[in-house]
C-alpha cells in the first residue's frame, strides 16, 4: 500500500486528494492509540461534518474499520453526518432552559425558519441543533450561534429577541 497523492504519508492506498487539509492531522494522530475521537473532531472542524468519504479516508489512514468509526461517530452527539448551514444554531435544552421556556424558543425558530432539530434551511443559511446544556444556566433560555466569525451566545431569550436575531443574521448574509 502506498499513499501517493494524499500527501499525508500515511502509507495507505486511499489515493485521496480531497482530504489534503486533514493530512497534517493524520501525520500527528493516525498512529497514536486512542486518538480517533480527536481525529473526528478535527475533521468536523475542517469540513463542518463527517462525510462517508471522510470516514473511509480516516479508516485507511488509521487502520480502524469504517464500521467502528461510524459507531463512534454516531455514539457521540457532537458528530454530524450531514452538512450544516452557514450558521449553526445550538439551542440549549438544559433543565434551566427547559423550565424557562426553551420549547417556546424552539417554536419561534420553527416559525421563523421552518426547521426543527437537526434540519437545515433550504437556502443553507441555518441549521438547528438542540444541545443538552451550554452551561449558561443563569441566563436561560440560551442559544449559541456558530459561524465563520466564531460563536456568539445569546441569553435571556424571548420569542421576539430570537426572531430579531435571526433576521439580523439573514439580512447580513
Amino acid at each position: 500500500m502506498t499513499c501517493t497523492s494524499g500527501g499525508c504519508g500515511c502509507g495507505s492506498n486511499c489515493n485521496n486528494q480531497e482530504f489534503s487539509e486533514l493530512a497534517p492531522v493524520m501525520d500527528k494522530y493516525a498512529k497514536v492509540p486512542g486518538s480517533i475521537i480527536t481525529i473526528l473532531q478535527k475533521a468536523q472542524d475542517i469540513y463542518g461534518y463527517l462525510s462517508f468519504d471522510a470516514i473511509l479516508y480516516i479508516s485507511e489512514c488509521t487502520g480502524i474499520k469504517p464500521a467502528k468509526i461510524y459507531g463512534i461517530a454516531t455514539f457521540y452527539t457532537q458528530f454530524r453526518l450531514k452538512p450544516i448551514g452557514k450558521n449553526l444554531i445550538m439551542l440549549c435544552k438544559g433543565t434551566a432552559c427547559h423550565v424557562n421556556g426553551a420549547d417556546m424558543i424552539e417554536e419561534a425558530i420553527f416559525e421563523e425558519l421552518a426547521i426543527t432539530d437537526g434540519e437545515t434551511t433550504e437556502d443553507g443559511l441555518f441549521t438547528l441543533n438542540n444541545m443538552a446544556c451550554l452551561g449558561c444556566c443563569s441566563l436561560a433560555p440560551v442559544m449559541m450561534i456558530k459561524n465563520a466569525d466564531g460563536d456568539e451566545t445569546y441569553g435571556s431569550l424571548t420569542k421576539d429577541s430570537v426572531r430579531s436575531t435571526l433576521r439580523e443574521i439573514r439580512s447580513k448574509a
Partner: protein
C-alpha cells in the same frame, strides 16, 4: 488603577467583550493608556453581568459596577477614572452584595479576582505554594493523610472519599499511572466546573499535580466537554505557562517527581461522567461503561492504575494543603466537610454560582442568597442532582444541604445543580423532561436502561397529553424499580429518581393529569382550555394569527374559540394585547 471585566462564558454572553473593547478604546482616546483593562473569571453573580471592577493602585476594590453595557462606559471613565468619584448609581446594590457576602469561598477563591490567563497572578495569590510544600516536604502517605483529615469527598456526584481513591491508586504498583480530571460536566443545569476552569484553571492543575504525586501518577489527562471552548482555551494557556515555570514536566521543583498533562475534548455523551465510560472514551471507544471490579484504581486507562476526580474536588486540594486538612474539616457537618458550590438556576431571582459551607439549610441558599423565586411566585420545589437526582418539595425547604440529608429526600447533592421551580412548573412534565434526557443518553448496553426508560417516557408523554390511564402511576413505579435493579452503571440506576421523587411528593399532580385531565401548573398544553374573555376588543389579531383558523368574530365584537378545532398552541394568548385570552 486597574479595571477588571468579568469574562466567563456568561459574562461574554451578556456582552462583556463589547464593554471591554469600549473601555480600552475610550480610555485610549482620553490618553489614559496607563489604566490597565484586564479580564477575570466569573464572580458568580451571573444575574448582574457584565461586571466591571475598578481597583486602586494598592489593589483595593474601589467599585463594582454591574450590568455595564458599552453605553455606561463613558460615564464611568468621566466621573470615576478621571473625576475620582465612583458612579454610585451603577454600582452593585447592597442587597446584591449579600449574594457574595453570605458565601464562603474556597473553590471559587480566585474566580472574579485574578486574571486566569496570567500565572503570575495565581502565584501572587499563593498559587503553587501547596505544590512546593507537597513535593519538597511531604511523602505520598502524608499527602493522603492530610486529605483524609480534611474529609474531602468527591464533588462530582457520588461523594466518595477522595483520600481512599488516591490511596487505592497509590498502592497498586505499575510503571505508568494516570490522574484524570473529569470535566465532562454533562449534568444539565450545573456549570461550576466550567466557571472554575474559566476563572481559575491553575487551581485544578495544581490539585492534579498534588493528587498525581500522592498516587504516583506519571501523566494527567483533563477530559473536558467540547461545548466549553473557552474553558479549553484557558486550560491550554494555563498548562503552557505552568510548563514554562517548571510546575509541569520533568523533575518538578527539583523534587525528582515528573508529571505532565494534556487535554482531551469530550464529544458529548452524558454517560461519560461514569468513570469506566470516561476511560473507554479516553481510549477512543464508544463511551460505554463496564463492570467493576476491576476498579480504575486497579485497571483503568490502558489497563493501568487510574484515578478520576471532578474539577471541583481538585480545586479544593491546594487550599487543603496550604491551610491544613483540619481547617477544611472544621467546616460543614459530621459526614460532609468543607464547602460546596451550587449552580442556582431556573425560576430564581438571582441566578449564579454560590459556594456555601455544607450543612446550610436549603432555605438559606434559595431565599437567603438567591433571593427567592422570580416574580415572587409560589416556590414549589428545587431539583437537585440533575437527571440522577430528584425534586425536593417546598415543605422540605429546611433540609440541610449535605450528602446524607439530601439523599434522604430521594434527591442527591450530585454535582450541585439547583433548579428552582415555581407554581407554573408542572412536575409531571419535569419527570418527562429528565426521562427524555436519560433515554437519549443511555448507552444502550443494559436492556432495562435502554428500553425501560423509553417505556417510562412513553407513559409520561401519554399522561402529559391527557391520555393517562388508571394504573399508570403503579406501572411507572414498577418499571422504575426494575430499571434501577437491571442497570449496570449509575446512569440507569439513578435514571428513575426524578420520576420516583415527583410521584412521592406530587402524586396529586399525576392524579390530576390522569383522572381529572387537568394540569394545575397550566403548563401541559394538551390539558388546557383557551377561552376569550370580555376584555376582548375585537381587534381580530388572534383570529388572523390562529394557525387553524378556529377563532371567529367580527371587528369590534367579542371573539370565540371553537374548542373542537383548537389545537391549544397558545398563539392567541401570545399575540393578544388586551389580556383577553384565558388559559385554564
Amino acid at each position: 488603577m486597574r479595571i477588571l471585566v468579568g469574562q466567563g462564558s456568561c459574562g461574554i454572553a451578556t456582552g462583556a467583550r463589547k464593554t471591554s473593547t469600549a473601555l480600552v478604546k475610550q480610555l485610549h482616546e482620553k490618553g489614559l493608556d496607563q489604566v490597565e483593562v484586564d479580564i477575570t473569571g466569573c464572580v458568580g453573580t451571573c444575574f448582574l453581568e457584565p461586571i466591571v471592577d475598578v481597583y486602586d493602585d494598592g489593589g483595593n476594590l474601589e467599585a463594582r459596577y454591574v450590568k455595564v453595557q458599552p453605553d455606561k462606559v463613558a460615564t464611568i471613565i468621566e466621573r470615576h477614572i478621571i473625576g475620582g468619584e465612583p458612579v454610585l448609581e451603577y454600582t452593585i446594590a447592597d442587597v446584591d452584595n449579600d449574594f457574595i457576602d453570605k458565601q464562603m469561598k474556597i473553590v471559587l477563591r480566585n474566580c472574579g479576582i485574578i486574571n486566569p490567563e496570567k500565572i503570575d497572578e495565581y502565584i501572587a495569590s499563593g498559587g503553587y505554594e501547596a505544590t512546593r510544600k507537597v513535593l519538597t516536604q511531604m511523602t505520598q502517605e502524608e499527602v493522603i493523610e492530610e486529605i483524609k483529615i480534611s474529609g474531602l469527598r468527591g464533588r462530582g456526584g457520588a461523594g466518595f472519599p477522595t483520600w481512599f481513591k488516591w490511596n487505592a491508586a497509590r498502592i497498586n504498583q505499575a510503571d505508568d499511572k494516570y490522574m484524570v480530571c473529569n470535566a465532562d460536566e454533562g449534568d444539565p443545569g450545573a456549570f461550576m466546573d466550567r466557571s472554575v476552569l474559566e476563572g481559575d484553571p491553575h487551581s485544578v492543575i495544581e490539585g492534579m499535580i498534588i493528587g498525581g504525586y500522592a498516587m504516583g501518577a506519571t501523566e494527567g489527562v483533563i477530559y473536558v466537554r467540547a461545548e466549553y471552548p473557552l474553558a479549553i482555551a484557558r486550560l491550554e494557556k494555563a498548562m503552557e505557562q505552568a510548563r514554562e515555570k517548571g510546575f509541569l514536566g520533568k523533575n518538578i521543583m527539583g523534587s525528582g517527581y515528573s508529571f505532565d498533562m494534556r487535554i482531551k475534548a469530550g464529544a458529548g455523551a452524558f454517560v461519560c461522567g461514569e468513570e469506566t465510560a470516561l476511560i473507554a472514551s479516553l481510549e477512543g471507544e464508544r463511551g460505554m461503561p463496564r463492570l467493576k471490579p476491576p476498579f480504575p484504581a486497579q485497571k483503568g486507562f490502558w489497563q493501568k492504575p487510574t484515578n478520576i476526580n471532578n474539577v471541583e474536588t481538585f480545586a479544593n486540594v491546594p487550599w487543603i494543603i496550604q491551610n491544613g486538612g483540619a481547617a477544611f474539616g472544621a467546616m460543614g457537618t459530621e459526614q460532609s466537610k468543607g464547602t460546596k458550590v451550587f449552580a442556582l438556576a431556573g425560576k430564581i431571582k438571582k441566578g449564579g454560582l454560590v459556594e456555601v459551607p455544607m450543612g446550610l439549610p436549603l432555605r438559606d441558599v434559595i431565599f437567603g442568597i438567591g433571593g427567592g423565586t422570580k416574580n415572587d411566585k409560589a416556590f414549589k420545589a428545587v431539583q437537585m442532582g440533575g437527571p440522577s437526582g430528584g425534586c425536593i418539595p417546598a415543605e422540605l425547604i429546611d433540609t440541610t444541604v449535605d450528602y446524607e440529608s439530601i439523599t434522604k429526600t430521594g434527591a442527591i447533592v450530585g454535582s450541585g445543580g439547583m433548579i428552582v421551580m415555581d407554581e407554573t412548573t408542572c412536575m409531571v412534565d419535569m419527570a418527562r423532561y429528565f426521562l427524555d434526557f436519560t433515554r437519549k443518553e443511555s448507552c444502550g448496553k443494559c436492556n432495562y436502561c435502554r428500553i425501560g426508560t423509553k417505556r417510562m417516557l412513553e407513559i409520561l408523554e401519554r399522561i402529559t397529553k391527557g391520555e393517562g390511564k388508571d394504573g399508570d402511576i403503579e406501572l411507572l413505579e414498577e418499571l422504575a424499580s426494575k430499571v434501577k435493579d437491571g442497570s449496570m452503571c449509575g446512569l440507569g440506576q439513578t435514571a428513575p429518581n426524578p420520576v420516583l421523587t415527583t410521584i412521592r411528593y406530587f402524586r396529586n399532580e399525576y392524579e390530576d393529569h390522569i383522572y381529572n385531565k387537568k394540569c394545575t401548573a397550566k403548563a401541559c398544553s394538551a390539558l388546557l382550555t383557551f377561552t376569550i374573555t370580555d376584555a376582548c376588543t375585537g381587534c381580530t389579531l388572534c383570529a388572523r394569527k390562529c394557525p387553524v383558523n378556529c377563532i371567529s368574530g367580527k371587528v369590534k365584537e367579542l371573539h370565540v374559540i371553537d374548542q373542537e378545532r383548537c389545537i391549544k398552541c397558545g398563539k392567541c394568548e401570545e399575540v393578544c394585547r388586551f389580556n383577553a385570552v384565558n388559559r385554564e
